[in-house]
């Protein structure tokens, strides 16, 4: 019976369009119709998982290291302005605050390392 269910769902998916729209959603299995209704209710807002933020912070750190190598004397306010301006617009306020704090802390640490090395 399970095998039949598997074949049924695969067949159902095989015959559906490659893109979901309001007009064709009725052609999809119920599980996808429910998912689509939920995403539509969320206005297809970006899905920001903990892993997304982990990548975002790693990327941010990477860019700060690059910036410190190329322009170590850049003032802290310009560093913060530059990095925060590069963030996607959908980042929520509390994460912008966290990233600002992270930027300041990381830049200060990098500046200390640079001063010690010099």
């Amino acid at each position: 019976m399970k095998k039949n269910g598997e074949i049924a769902i695969q067949d159902a998916m095989r015959n559906t369009p490659k893109t979901i729209t309001d007009e064709n959603i009725h052609l999809f299995p119920k599980i996808i119709q429910e998912f689509y209704a939920q995403r539509k209710a969320e206005n297809f807002a970006p899905i920001l998982t903990p892993k997304y933020y982990k990548t975002l912070f790693s990327h941010h750190q990477e860019k700060l290291i690059e910036l410190n190598k190329t322009n170590p004397s850049l003032s802290l306010n310009l560093v913060v302005a530059q990095r925060i301006a590069a963030l996607p617009e959908f980042i929520p306020a509390e994460k912008i605050i966290e990233l600002t704090t992270f930027t300041i802390k990381t830049w200060q640490e990098l500046s200390i390392k640079e001063a010690v090395a010099a």
Binding site: K2, G5, E6, I9, Q10, M13, R14, T16, P17, K18, T19, I20, F28, P29, I31, I32, F35, Y36, Q38, R39, F44, P46, I47, L48, T49, P50, K51, Y52, K54, T55, L56, S58, H59, Q61, E62, K63, I65, A86, L87, P88
Partner: protein, 144 residues
Amino acid sequence: MIGETYEFTDVENGREFIFISVGKNGKILKQVVFEEISIGIYNLGFGDRIDGQIEDSVISNNNDLLKIMNTVGAIIYDFFDLNPTCSIEITPVDEKRARLYHTIFKRRIQEINRIFVLEGYDSSYQWSEFKVGMSYQRFKLKKK
């Protein structure tokens, strides 16, 4: 050659895809999302859709890992067809995934290299071309 995949569907302009895994634990809705981290750079998010969220650390154990990874690979191809100048970053959510991604890239590196540039970010905070045997914290994929 990607191999056997599930049929998948684009939900939102080439940035969000879904498919249904079918296996010993039944039907599981899988979601793949590409969320921007900076202009032209996207994070690859992937997991089970549970209670309205992507659960990216869950182990669904549906006995179809290869088919799932093939499907994610096919979705990545579609993403690049729609967004050819963008790059994607892949960050393993845990050690188990890190080993899995290293293994997949090791096995598929020749196929990947034909179309993409695969880089790894190592512990010395440097991006470099992916090399078998090296350990990376994150991966970056872009079209050649």
